[in-house]
């Protein structure tokens, strides 16, 4: 699967306003719900927070990948957020998270979910990829960057 099949400019938020972990998750879910009429934001929030209680998805290098499986979505949904100030997401290295990928998949469809997470984990290892997303001026820049890396052009 291609990530850009699941992420459009409407699924990208630059200049996130959240100042803490819960606010960041809420802001991302709100963005997801804006482009998905049938997505139940409250159920998604509950699922993502439950997953975070098992262990934070704040990784190193300023990236967090909160995710959950729940039937409040009909297919894999992904949103991307950028916080220039950074958010304490209880990350592995203790540093603030600036780049967020929130993924929610229905319970009966794990394959694409796992593949998408794996692909994101792979991409965020690339310094230039992270830098380009953080410096993006428009949501379209984020999509273009993801697409270029997916196509092996970056």
């Amino acid at each position: 699967m291609k990530l850009t099949d699941a992420i459009g400019p409407e699924n990208v938020k630059l200049d996130m306003e959240a100042t803490d972990k819960r606010e960041a998750i809420e802001e991302l879910i709100e963005l997801m719900a804006e482009s998905c009429e049938r997505c139940d934001a409250d159920t998604i929030l509950e699922a993502v927070l439950a997953r975070e209680r098992d262990g934070s998805t704040g990784l190193e290098k300023g990236v967090a990948i909160p995710h959950a499986k729940c039937d409040a979505v009909a297919r894999l949904r992904i949103v991307v957020g950028v916080s220039h100030d950074g958010v304490d997401f209880e990350s592995l290295d203790g540093k603030p998270s600036h780049l967020f990928f929130l993924l929610v998949a229905p319970t009966g469809e794990s394959g694409p979910h796992v593949q998408a997470i794996a692909k994101i984990v792979k991409m965020i290892k690339l310094d230039r990829f992270r830098e380009r997303l953080i410096k993006a001026k428009r949501p379209e820049d984020v999509i273009e960057t993801i697409e270029r890396v997916e196509n092996g052009e970056a």
Binding site: G55, V114, Q115, K122, L126, E150
Partner: protein
């Protein structure tokens, strides 16, 4: 002379491309009177990578492993039904492990004359393609490999078979 395509092994990962590969494999099995075996592998390596990267916690990894196994059963059953529609009996194999190693092992143990798989996925760099299993399978198996592309054409072939 024995049938050069007596045993066809089909690898599927549930992608649209692998279903196209299944349609071609069934069409070929019918044409060449081959035995067709379809295989799905729960990618334990990938789950382990995600656990190591701390994206997954242990319980979650186990949960996803069960989910992927169920996905695999569903995909295999779907290919069996595709075979039924054309009067082709399809054998199924579900394994867990390192995908390319499991596929190569099955191909060798069973004596596959041909491995059929869907299109190769995108790789982020040639040096580092840990999740691109199609590429790894291509390099690892010892029998001839067919990488299938051209969905519309193959769908027509399957319907006409």
């Amino acid at each position: 002379m024995s049938n050069p395509l007596g045993n066809i092994l089909l690898y599927i990962d549930g992608s649209e491309s692998s279903i196209t590969a299944a349609q071609l494999a069934i069409t070929m099995a019918k044409t060449y009177q081959s035995v067709l075996r379809v295989m799905y592998v729960v990618n334990e390596n990938l789950l382990a990578e995600l656990l190591k990267a701390r994206v997954f916690v242990q319980m979650e990894k186990m949960d996803y492993e069960r989910d992927l196994e169920e996905d695999g059963k569903r995909y295999l059953n779907y290919v069996v039904k595709l075979g039924d529609r054309k009067g082709i009996k399809v054998e199924t194999v579900l394994r867990k492990g390192v995908v390319h190693e499991e596929v190569a092992h099955e191909a060798e143990q069973w004596g596959a004359d041909l491995l059929v798989q869907g299109e190769l996925g995108e790789v982020l760099s040639l040096r580092d393609s840990f999740y691109e299993e199609g590429e790894r399978i291509l390099r690892k198996v010892k029998c001839p490999v067919m990488v299938v592309r051209g969905r519309e054409r193959i769908e027509r072939m399957y319907e006409e078979a």
